[in-house]
């Protein structure tokens, strides 16, 4: 596998080889799918929309609907205003969504289409909405695009009706799976707090098969709910890269207090999430949640010898990797290489501090990195385990490493989008996966005389 790779370290300063990120529009499309009755719309060439739909579909294994402005060379020269206006007219006539969420592409950004103006001039049926976000592919990553669409939801839709705040909170869940969003909802319902979560792709990208197809499934946050988020007392923004900016805008626009948190992956981050709700609303922690937490601690103590002290390489989206790195430290593991493809020095600062506090020395931490570089690091000094998206499988095979799939996208294994990694239950799943990967490797590689029944 990958015999073509250079045997010695080489200079790699330009471009990406085996990228660990993709472009903004994909994230914007995913976020838009979390609005009920929404058709995401890609303002660019058909190919962008085709690629984004295919990529999301491969991960979720559920229908991903979106339309395109279908630019041709003419539109690229003269501007895409006519294409967008025609699109808006046709989409409402034929596909009849409640709302269209338009994102741009590097094509429409480079020619400088003025979306707010074009949308203003478009024929939008009474009661329907069109929102937009600028998602130039030559800045940030798919996480930036997700964050951008969340910001657009707030800017366009959230409103404070001026009659005082309601005893409810908003949750911006970040670029997580529908299974994670369901789990967040379950935890909050155990705490008994009223919540508006947006975007919410549960019920959209994890739908049951009933032989009754719905182009717009039952799930997703309704436009009315997003509007009402302006009346909430507080917003929990999960993940600094995907969610914090939208919470800031909501605070400025509607006076909703924003509380920046990590994604609730791992015990520490889940504790913080639950404590933030308890502290704000003064609710009691139900025994069922305490039990779940206790089970995680019990499992960690019981199984630490499966994984403690092992060297790990982790890559993926920044909010996921930040939270997971903290949990790996809780597990007593040693994250020696931590990488995200998304640009942002904050990632490096936060992880580096975390590792220093834990006494991990000699680690390499990088934002805007790529998997070619990660593999070079692993070749210089090996690790015991690789954790990341499906793209890690090439490295895992070439370097003969156990591999745990985590984050977005997972293209070669099913069921991941349905199974949460957030919350205390998510901790158990991560412990099981990490532990199993290492033990399966031990069972596979050990001599017959060392092959044991009980581990």
């Amino acid at each position: 596998m990958l015999e073509c790779l250079p045997k010695e370290p080489v200079e790699h300063t330009t471009g990406k080889i085996n990228p660990a990120k993709t472009c903004q529009p994909l994230g914007a499309m995913y976020a838009a799918l979390g609005i009920h009755g929404c058709l995401p719309h890609s303002h660019g060439s058909q190919g962008c929309c085709a690629y984004h739909r295919m990529h999301l579909t491969r991960h979720f294994r559920d229908p991903v609907m979106a339309s395109s402005s279908s630019f041709t060379e003419g539109a690229s020269v003269f501007g895409g205003a006519a294409n967008l206006k025609t699109s808006i007219k046709n989409v409402f006539a034929i596909y009849n969504p409640e709302i269209m969420a338009v994102h741009t592409t590097c094509l429409s950004e480079t020619i400088g289409d003025d979306l707010p103006n074009i949308i203003k001039q478009a024929e939008i049926p009474e009661g329907k909405r069109v929102i937009h976000v600028n998602t130039p592919s030559y800045q940030g990553s798919h996480v930036t695009g997700f964050s951008g669409m969340c910001k657009a939801m707030v800017s366009y839709l959230a409103e404070a009706d001026g009659t005082g705040k309601k005893a409810q909170m908003n949750i911006l869940p970040g670029f997580v799976n529908p299974g994670d969003m369901r789990e967040i909802r379950r935890i909050v319902s155990l705490l008994g707090v009223k919540m508006i979560m947006f975007p919410d792709t549960s019920g959209v990208l994890d739908t049951p098969l009933t032989s009754r197809y719905q182009m717009y499934p039952d799930g997703g946050t309704t436009v009315a709910e997003i509007r009402d988020s302006g009346n909430s007392e507080v917003t929990l923004a999960l993940g600094s890269f995907a969610s914090h900016d939208a919470a800031d805008i909501l605070q400025d626009k509607c006076g909703v207090t924003g509380i920046p948190l990590r994604l609730p992956i791992g015990i520490g981050a889940t504790d913080d999430f639950i404590m933030a709700i308890r502290d704000w609303f003064g609710v009691e922690i139900p025994a069922s949640l305490a039990l779940e937490r206790g089970q995680v601690i019990d499992t960690l103590i019981d199984t630490h010898f499966h994984y403690q002290g092992k060297r790990v390489a982790v890559f993926g989206d920044p909010d996921h990797v930040i939270a997971l790195t903290e949990f790996l430290l809780t597990m007593g593991m040693v994250p020696v290489y931590v990488l995200t493809g998304t640009p942002g020095k904050a990632f490096e600062t936060e992880i580096t501090k975390m590792l220093e506090d834990a006494g991990v020395t000699g680690a390499r931490v990088k934002a805007e990195g790529d998997l070619f570089e990660l593999q070079q690091w692993i070749r210089e000094a090996p690790v015991d385990l690789l954790i990341g998206t499906s793209y890690g499988k090439y490295i895992a095979r070439a370097e003969d490493l156990p591999f745990v799939r985590f984050g977005f996208p997972i293209l070669d294994r099913a069921v991941h989008p349905l199974m949460p990694v957030v919350g205390y239950r998510g901790c158990l799943r991560l412990i099981e996966q990490i532990s199993n990967a290492l033990l399966e490797r031990r069972d596979r590689d050990c001599p017959d005389e060392d092959f044991e029944l009980v581990l």
Binding site: E3, C48, M65, F71, E73, I94, Y138
Partner: protein
């Protein structure tokens, strides 16, 4: 089906639909290769996808650098399943198919130009990997900001002494992937094909054009053709090497599998070198048998003809019993097929072998000739979009051009007789193979597919990944015919067995019978009494 459309859309879409009418003399005209209406949820991709994703990326020993922001290169990394392995001239160390190279243009590159970044990346890639040659594929912003990738390629070629080829395949060109196929064909024809001098040893040297080795299809064809006694020079571009493509012209016959994506090279090689081309279809037992017989006839060699019959008899017998068990499940089932620019036609043969009928078939990015046959090409009107794709006007190579009959070892008279029986340089399109009353639909969109499923109730939909789960939610089985749901090969004899098994499994997987929960079944039957 067209009712909800605004008038302009209705008028447009009507022209993309043709119903097979046995009594009509020829195929009614179908509109194809024209713009998709903005806002319509089409299956189409872009010129970059057709050039880089389809034609160029499978070339295993070239490094393909996508010049643009991160997305396009990332999405086309590892998703098309064109398999590659080492061979006598290309060791594992020279295969780059599983890597992804992108200049990852940032805002300053868009503002000030990305040429320097591209040049630097080429330098680093050459130093690190030492590839035999490099492709550079352009994405949308590259053309808009005016980066001269051809100049960058030329300079890099001089600097490094290896060929560096630039493809101006910006996504906005043309109306679909098709534009990209054409751009890739032009570049390979102009810059690579004909630059080699090594003819493969052996007799009856042939190329398989437009075979991308998805799931290993090309290797199954190579096996069959090798057993009969042909020397496969190059499969273009599935598992192809740059070295083989340089020698593409040193063959006696070009077989064309995917007509849409590669007919340009077949035609240009005929013009420049005189090499005849034959449209083949290796999808389906009968179709494979017919194609093999056609190829054998081209060479008019009794020994070849008899070996062909031996292989046909042996292979057909080998698969017949296996297919029969799956035919029991498949027989009488109706299917839709919406794939690419040849598969919706090719698979009709294999499905017929299984007793299934394709009642609706369409292409995403075909031209009229793929539906109606190549005789309509002179009547196809060019428009603003097709005019933007350059045509190469080649003339016969003064040194290398030979008459077609000389390549085949025939006399002129034998060749004249041959072309009356075997459709050399011709493709009849999908229409003749459509069942009576069947619907041909160009650039089918989401609304139309949903409506047709409701009305015609197919048992299986063959399409891409975007349609796959929609079909499932509609209660209809589906198989991806771009990626074969990660299985294959589906071509040739061995492929037919794989396909039959996968289709039978898709139709019969037990969960289909459990969709309605028991409490709802009870509700419809009336509650059970618990007296």
């Amino acid at each position: 089906m067209l009712d909800p459309y605004p008038d302009t859309v209705k008028k447009n879409r009507k022209k993309h639909l043709v119903v097979k009418n046995e009594t009509a003399e020829c195929c009614p005209q179908i509109e194809a290769n024209t713009r998709t209406i903005p806002g319509i949820i089409s299956q189409r991709g872009c010129a970059y996808a057709g050039c880089k994703g389809v034609v160029v990326a499978p070339i295993k020993d070239m490094i393909t650098i996508t010049h643009g922001p991160v997305g396009c290169g990332y999405y086309s990394w590892g998703t098309r399943r064109n398999k590659a392995r080492a061979d006598e001239t290309t060791p594992k160390e020279k295969i780059y198919s599983q890597l992804c190279f992108i200049t990852d243009m940032q805002e300053p590159d868009i503002v000030f130009g990305g040429e320097k970044k591209l040049a630097k990346m080429i330098d680093e890639v050459v130093a690190a990997f030492h590839p035999r040659a490099i492709n550079i594929c352009a994405t949308c912003p590259v053309g808009l900001i005016g980066d001269d990738i051809n100049a960058v390629a030329k300079a890099a070629q001089e600097r490094h002494g290896i060929q560096v080829i630039a493809y101006n395949c910006e996504g906005y060109k043309g109306v679909s992937q098709s534009a990209g196929h054409h751009i890739a064909n032009n570049n390979l024809m102009e810059k690579v094909i004909g630059t080699g001098t090594n003819r493969k040893p052996g007799r009856r040297v042939i190329n398989i054009l437009g075979e991308y080795n998805i799931g290993g299809d090309g290797w199954e064809l190579e096996r069959i053709l090798g057993e009969i006694g042909y020397t496969v020079n190059c499969i273009l571009t599935g598992d192809a090497s740059y070295l083989d493509i340089k020698n593409l012209h040193l063959a006696d016959l070009n077989l064309v599998q995917c007509h849409r994506s590669i007919n340009y090279i077949a035609e240009m090689m005929e013009t420049k070198y005189g090499i005849p081309w034959l449209k083949v279809n290796f999808i389906g037992i009968e179709a494979t048998n017919e194609s093999l017989r056609h190829i054998a006839r081209c060479f008019n060699d009794p020994e070849l003809a008899s070996r062909t019959e031996v292989v046909i008899a042996r292979e057909t017998a080998r698969v017949a019993a296996v297919l029969e068990q799956y035919r029991k499940i498949c027989r009488g089932r109706k299917a839709f097929a919406f794939v690419g620019g040849s598969r919706s036609h090719h698979y009709q043969h294999l499905l017929r072998d299984l007793g299934m009928e394709v009642i609706v078939a369409g292409y995403e990015f075909a031209h009229r000739d793929d539906y109606e046959g190549r005789q309509v090409i002179p009547t196809i009107k060019s428009d603003a979009d097709s005019k933007n794709i350059p045509e190469l006007h080649l003339s016969p190579d003064p040194e290398r051009y030979r008459e077609a009959h000389e390549y085949l070892g025939l006399t002129k008279e034998q060749y004249e007789a041959l072309i009356k029986d075997v459709p050399l340089s011709y493709y009849e399109g999908m229409y003749p193979d459509m069942p009576s009353g069947g619907l041909m639909i160009d650039d089918a969109n989401h609304h139309e597919v949903e409506e047709m499923v409701a009305r015609l109730k197919p048992d299986l939909i063959f399409s891409g990944v975007r349609d796959k789960y929609i079909a499932h939610k509609l209660g209809v089985a589906s198989k991806q015919l771009h990626s074969y749901d990660y299985a294959g090969p589906y071509a040739g004899y061995g492929g037919a067995i794989n396909f039959a098994r996968d289709v039978a499994n898709a139709l019969s997987t037990p969960a289909w019978k459990m969709i309605i929960p028991p409490w709802e079944i009870e509700d419809t039957k009336g509650r059970k009494s618990h007296a």
